[in-house]
Assembly symmetry: C2
Homo-oligomer: 306 residues x 2
Amino acid sequence: EKKTFIIDGKAVADKIQTEVKNEMLKLGVIPTLAVVLVGKRDDSAQYVRMKVKACAAVGIRNKQIDLPASVSETELSSVIKTLNNDPQIHGILVQMPLPSHINEETIVELIDPLKDVDGLTCSNSGLIYQKGVNAPLIPCTAIGCIRILEFAGINISGKHAVVVGRSKLVGKPVSSLLQSRNATVTMCHSKTANIEAYLKQADIVIAATGKPLFLQGSWFKKGAVIVDVGINPIKDSTKKLGVRFVGDVDFESAKQVASAITPVPGGVGPVTVAMLLHNTMSACKLQQQRQKQASSSSSSKEKKSS
Amino acid sequence: EKKTFIIDGKAVADKIQTEVKNEMLKLGVIPTLAVVLVGKRDDSAQYVRMKVKACAAVGIRNKQIDLPASVSETELSSVIKTLNNDPQIHGILVQMPLPSHINEETIVELIDPLKDVDGLTCSNSGLIYQKGVNAPLIPCTAIGCIRILEFAGINISGKHAVVVGRSKLVGKPVSSLLQSRNATVTMCHSKTANIEAYLKQADIVIAATGKPLFLQGSWFKKGAVIVDVGINPIKDSTKKLGVRFVGDVDFESAKQVASAITPVPGGVGPVTVAMLLHNTMSACKLQQQRQKQASSSSSSKEKKSS
Ligand SMILES: NC(=O)C1=CN([C@@H]2O[C@H](COP(=O)(O)OP(=O)(O)OC[C@H]3O[C@@H](n4cnc5c(N)ncnc54)[C@H](OP(=O)(O)O)[C@@H]3O)[C@@H](O)[C@H]2O)C=CC1
Ligand SMILES: NC(=O)C1=CN([C@@H]2O[C@H](COP(=O)(O)OP(=O)(O)OC[C@H]3O[C@@H](n4cnc5c(N)ncnc54)[C@H](OP(=O)(O)O)[C@@H]3O)[C@@H](O)[C@H]2O)C=CC1
């Protein structure tokens, strides 16, 4: 019997980082990512530190903007607008969640779509919906799942993919991407009756529910490819912090039936961070194109008027 | 045994038209739909006539703009821009297909999203992706399918819906809508292996492939609800025009197994036209809201500066 392939997310991330470094050499400018952190949540601060460190490793610059939890929506809005108008800033990341007095959707919609490295603005959603993997800026985790499947040599076309979860951040975009790569996609969620019946038929499973160890090995089809997006803290008194992180999939039982599977940690996590660097580089390119177009159209106007 | 419910699209359309008329009374203005027809294709001209007639029946005004097939992309673009800027125009419909020298996507993207009664601009796609049935402007056929299911008293939540087809016009938006109504949705297309296996499990089927009489009765689950979007001409020497129109579903065999089914003609077709009227009315409302917001924000600015 063939051994289950445990997909090394770190190796996928390294590959993406190398790509980013090579592409950056052609840019002629150093991309800068603005990271906006509101409040002092430990987990958010930790995520931001991780992202800033990853930027440094490939030579992307950061501008970190720390705001108090008491900041008003209007103040935060004007911070975003300033970043939009600053030609030195190529990507804008607003770390979620925001304090409850701020409407996250309103803030996200303010971000210049060409600086939207999280791919969450409505206009980028529309492009993902229409163009799938060819969209310019796609949520990092969603496109990260595709990169993982490619790395593992999985042919997506014609396969049945079951996506469990339908969030704007993961489930929806990853479904669009798989479909644009010609998978037949079924999207499951909390209102799905009998999830196991769908999983039993899936060649590819993307698990993004936020329910620790929810999906059991016995639910999958023999030979399925399983990408586990979940990162869920569960109590563990043997750990320094009293918690460890597990996926949405019961890894131990699932790896008995899967042909390939991502572990947690060390699976989707590092790939997501690498894709943030990739998106920052892409955002920088998109803005160079916009500038070029603007200057060529204004020079053609000058010509006309002269 | 229960008799199969043949869903009367004309009755659904009548219900929507009554809604539109009632809503129009509250608007205080008469909505106007601009219909742009490029070239002299018989089928396109026929569709336009049908739409104009439907508008007249509820009291929506039309402005019809006929352009020669030789019109340039630049000229057509400037027509769209003029319509965008005209406060007397509330909806803009560009009849597809356009001549091959014109990029359809470029033209669609020029339409003011609040006048986009076909719901095809990228920004409206993003809203459908994010908000499902709560999006402001949705492609008429896609939302029409939902109205048909509602009319037939079908509970969507928790059901397995299989959508066959993934076009921007029908398959994709109807999938998003069904999912937002809590169906578990599988999207099939020409690269799907073994379509029958998916159909055999479907509680609700939306057929939108453009393949005449493609889906056979024996492929469906007993009791399935079938919405047949297809309108396909096939040769028929007994008809005046030498053709008749059939759906994507083999109606005769399918009605033996379905609990409810739409016929062709007389199913999705009239509902699509009724939803165009609905979208024109909605577009008019959206522009009234925008105007109100603009005038209230400019008056608050005036107050501040005084
Ligand atoms: N590796 C990484 O870098 C990242 C990891 N994550 C992790 O991925 C997981 C999902 O994140 P996210 O998508 O943001 O989470 P959300 O909470 O936004 O969405 C969870 C989705 O799962 C569905 N769901 C919940 N319970 C069930 C159930 N019992 N059966 C089927 N579906 C269910 C929900 O359905 P419904 O819509 O009906 O409520 C919802 O669509 C989390 O563990 C998160 O920490 C997220 C982002 C990045
Ligand atoms: N009732 C009404 O008012 C309307 C009716 N229609 C009718 O609906 C039908 C579909 O229209 P539209 O969506 O615009 O058509 P498109 O041609 O744009 O899309 C057809 C879709 O069907 C898929 N498909 C084609 N062949 C097969 C197959 N053998 N098995 C599975 N899937 C297949 C295609 O897959 P792939 O993407 O892989 O190529 C594609 O996604 C047409 O008959 C059209 O006339 C359309 C709009 C309005």
